[in-house]
Every structure is written in structure tokens, then in C-alpha cells.
């Protein structure tokens, strides 16, 4: 496959997925609404004391963003599986890897990206000090991409099953743990006025590894799910 052919393929898949998601609306807005709502539950559960909220905010924001990303992941391949367009992807003579890569990136553009952009607003609501905002956004930008790629493996494995949703979280959540550890730690360090670049660098490593390796697992999982 020529390089321009590959670029065409990636662009076509990206454009189609983004367009479909924008037209349906709920696909990108629901995770955002979930993110906002659950974050609003925490002050109600813990109490409104600003300093206590500020202390917990990095952890809360990261855990809720992780859950929002997880919930969105279930629909990643389900639509294509149901309307049999997934078969077309598998039967293309072009490699499945770039298609899956583009699909997952499109999914991140529609879920992780808006989530990261919105996160400072929720940071304000949860009394996160201003020094933590940049770290929060950057760590979420990197981290949610990794979450999307890991989640895509689970989504591909469960796409053929009727009761996918809860099962997906069971198999994917343990794999999310390193991202959560480094993401929330970056924000905490930033709030404490410390150095947070090492954590971001670590997330960057996860980012590259996830983009390079997880499409292999996703491709295999999709073939298994379609062949039932």
C-alpha cells in the first residue's frame, strides 16, 4: 500500500466516523453530561467544604473522566457491528490496522477531547486550585487517548455479545490503573507546586505504546467477534 493510499484510508475512516458521531449528537454529548453530573454528585456526597474538595479534586476528576471514557467506549464498534459495516472493514484488502487506528482516534476526538477541554470548568466547580488546571488538561488529553485505545480492545472483544456494557468495564478497568495513577498524580503534583513533567512524560510513553500496540489486539479481537 502506498503512503498516500494509507493517508486516504485513514482520512476517509476518520471523516466518516466523526461525521456519523456529530450527526447523532448523543454519542459525544452523553459522556460530557455524565462527566458534569457525576462531578456534581461529589460535593453533595462529601460536603461542600472548599479545602476538602480541593484536596480530593484531582482524584475525583480523573476517576470520573475515566468512567465517562469507559462508558463511551462500549459504542465504539457496536454501531458498525450491528449495521454490518464492520464486515466491510474486515473484508477490505487494505490492512485493518490503520482503519482501527483511525476509528479509535475519531472516537477520542468525539469523547476524550471534549472531556479534556471541559475539565477546567469542572475543576473550578470542585475548587481545584488554578495551578493544577494546565496539568489537568494536558494529563487528560494524553490519558484519555490511552484509555480510548485500551478500551477499544475491550469493546472489540465484547462487541458480538448482547450484554456487553458491564462486562466491558470488568475487563478494561484493571488495565486503566497505570493511566489513573500517573494522571491524577500529575495534577496533584501541580497543585502542590511540584514538578509534574515526569508524570506527563510517563503518560506520553503510555500514549505511544498504546497507539503502536493496541490496534494489533483490537484487530484480532474484531476478527474473533465477527467470527461467531
Amino acid at each position: 500500500m502506498s503512503e498516500s493510499g494509507l493517508a486516504h484510508l485513514v482520512v476517509a475512516v476518520l471523516r466518516r466516523d466523526v461525521m456519523a458521531s456529530l450527526r447523532r449528537g448523543s454519542e459525544w454529548s452523553n459522556p460530557l453530561v455524565f462527566f458534569v453530573m457525576v462531578c456534581a454528585l461529589f460535593p453533595l456526597g462529601i460536603g461542600p467544604q472548599p479545602d476538602r474538595l480541593a484536596e480530593l479534586a484531582p482524584g475525583i476528576l480523573w476517576v470520573v473522566a475515566l468512567l465517562a471514557s469507559l462508558l463511551a467506549t462500549d459504542s465504539l464498534f457496536r454501531g458498525d457491528f450491528d449495521d454490518a459495516t464492520l464486515e466491510q472493514m474486515l473484508l477490505s484488502h487494505q490492512s485493518l490496522y490503520p482503519q482501527v487506528l483511525a476509528k479509535t482516534l475519531a472516537h477520542w476526538l468525539m469523547t476524550g477531547l471534549p472531556l479534556s477541554i471541559l475539565s477546567p470548568v469542572l475543576g473550578v466547580l470542585l475548587q481545584l486550585p488554578a495551578t493544577g488546571m494546565l496539568a489537568l488538561m494536558v494529563s487528560l488529553l494524553l490519558g484519555t487517548t490511552v484509555l480510548s485505545f485500551i478500551g477499544a480492545i475491550g469493546a472489540a472483544l465484547t462487541v458480538g455479545l448482547r450484554k456487553g456494557g458491564l462486562l466491558l468495564s470488568l475487563i478494561v478497568l484493571p488495565l486503566y490503573i497505570p493511566v489513573l495513577i500517573f494522571g491524577s498524580s500529575a495534577v496533584k503534583s501541580a497543585v502542590a507546586g511540584g514538578e509534574y513533567f515526569p508524570q506527563l512524560a510517563m503518560l506520553g510513553v503510555f500514549y505511544l505504546v498504546a497507539i503502536a500496540l493496541s490496534p494489533l489486539a483490537i484487530c484480532g479481537a474484531l476478527r474473533i467477534s465477527v467470527d461467531q
Binding site: S185, A217, D227
Partner: protein, 263 residues
């Protein structure tokens, strides 16, 4: 050649052809081979486990810091070590199944999951009970215990995924992919948790103080550890043999074997 192939397949009601691991991949051969291995494994593992436990419980002097509660080590460490090793074995079996389409590897994978999960559960439970008299609390978010907890989650995920599939072949392949992904992630997870723990190091004594252990205390541990590995091997054979019977129930050799026994 073709005729033989299809006849063979129909006799085994098999859907995939194992090629490279011709002999090792043959369930029938494995069933007969493992039958000879089983008594040795059972005897030796029980000898080592019981012997090591008695030695560790009754004959070794107590730890000067922890007192007698340290004797839990002789079951806790073997359980967690074998649980970890079992996950890696499962991932390797999964890779073999995916690459060479070896049916036996799928059976091994399926059999390991419940055993590994039980051992991880034991490791968690004994760790918690060990913590109570030693540090005064049932649960500490210590790096090692947290890692074992995550390993337990990984096992539960594999079991849940396997149960969700109606089709046996698809279940095996999906679990193989998940096991491999998990095995790639385990070092990253362990290392992350280790790093996370070092950030939040509490003032209390760390669980990871086993390097100071006295050699006389180490010898029973070696016995129970190897005993646990052998016991795991024996259990694994038990489960795999049942799985072979179940999958090959329409074949002549299994039917002759079972009904020959009853006569």
C-alpha cells in the same frame, strides 16, 4: 492425504487443524500421557506442601519482629507466586492457541482461570489475616497487596469474558487476546503501583520486608513454594483432562475409555 484429513476431523468433530504441535496438540495423546504423570505430581506436591507447612508451623523459630504470625508466609507467598505464574502461563497458552491453533492450549487456558483466581483470592485473604496481628489492620494499601488485588481483577475479567460467549472457540480466542493484553500490562501495572506506593509511603512498616528473613525460615518456604507449583500442575491436569473428555465426547476413544471403565 485430503481424505485422511477430513476423516480424522470428522472423527474428532474438530474445527481447527493443529499442525506443528501434532503430538503435543493431540488431546488423546495428552490424556494418556498425563495419566502417568498424575500420581507422581499428586504425591510429591502433597508431601512438599504438608511437610513444608508442618516444618514451618512447628519447627522454625518465630520472627524476632513479627512473632508467630510470620508463619503465614508459608502459604501466602506460594499462593501469590503461583497465582502470578499461572497468569503468565495462561497468557502463553493463549498465544500458542492463537498462533498455532492448538486446541489443547485453549483447554489449558480455560482450566487455569478458576485455579489462578482461587490462588489469588487465597493470597489476598492470607495477606489480610497476616496484617491484622502484625500491623493491627486487616487491609493496607500496600504496593504488593494492591498488585495482587489487581491480578485478582484481571482473573475475574477473564472468567467473566469466557462465560459471556456462547461459542467455545470464540470464547477461547477472545480470552487468549485478553490474557495476552493483560500479561503485557502486568509489568506496567506492577511498576506503576510500586511507584504510586513510594509516593504515598505511610509511616508504618512495609510488607516488603522478606529479604531480611533468616535462612532457617527460608527452607520450609522453598518446600511449600515448590509444593504449590506441583499442586498447581496437578490441579491443572485434573481440569484439562475433564475438558478433554467434555470436548471429545463424540469421539470413539473417549466413549470406549469411559464405557470400558464402567463395564
Amino acid at each position: 492425504m485430503l481424505g485422511i484429513g477430513s476423516k480424522f476431523l470428522k472423527e474428532n468433530s474438530a474445527l481447527s487443524i493443529s499442525s506443528t504441535f501434532h503430538k503435543w496438540g493431540s488431546p488423546r495423546w495428552f490424556y494418556q500421557f498425563s495419566a502417568r504423570l498424575m500420581p507422581w505430581l499428586a504425591g510429591l506436591s502433597l508431601l512438599l506442601l504438608v511437610g513444608g507447612a508442618v516444618w514451618g508451623l512447628a519447627f522454625v523459630p518465630p520472627d524476632y519482629k513479627q512473632g508467630n504470625s510470620f508463619r503465614i508466609i508459608y502459604i501466602h507467598v506460594p499462593a501469590s507466586a503461583v497465582a502470578m505464574g499461572a497468569y503468565m502461563t495462561m497468557a502463553i497458552a493463549g498465544a500458542i492457541h492463537l498462533i498455532w491453533r492448538m486446541k489443547l492450549a485453549a483447554m489449558v487456558m480455560k482450566a487455569i482461570a478458576p485455579i489462578g483466581a482461587s490462588l489469588t483470592f487465597l493470597a489476598l485473604l492470607t495477606g489480610a489475616v497476616w496484617g491484622k496481628p502484625t500491623w493491627g489492620t486487616w487491609w493496607v494499601w500496600d504496593a504488593r497487596i494492591t498488585s495482587v488485588l489487581i491480578l485478582f481483577f484481571l482473573y475475574l475479567g477473564i472468567i467473566a469474558l469466557h462465560q459471556a460467549f456462547e461459542n467455545r472457540d470464540a470464547a477461547a480466542k477472545a480470552c487468549a487476546v485478553l490474557a495476552i493484553v493483560g500479561a503485557v500490562n502486568i509489568p506496567i501495572i506492577y511498576w506503576s503501583v510500586e511507584w504510586w506506593y513510594s509516593l504515598h509511603q505511610p509511616a508504618s512498616i512495609s510488607f516488603t520486608g522478606q529479604s531480611t528473613i533468616h535462612p532457617t525460615m527460608l527452607r520450609p518456604l522453598m518446600a511449600t513454594l515448590s509444593g504449590m507449583y506441583l499442586f498447581f500442575g496437578w490441579l491443572l491436569l485434573l481440569f484439562v483432562r475433564v475438558e478433554i473428555l467434555d470436548r471429545e465426547r463424540n469421539t470413539r476413544w473417549v466413549q470406549d475409555l469411559i464405557c470400558g471403565e464402567s463395564r
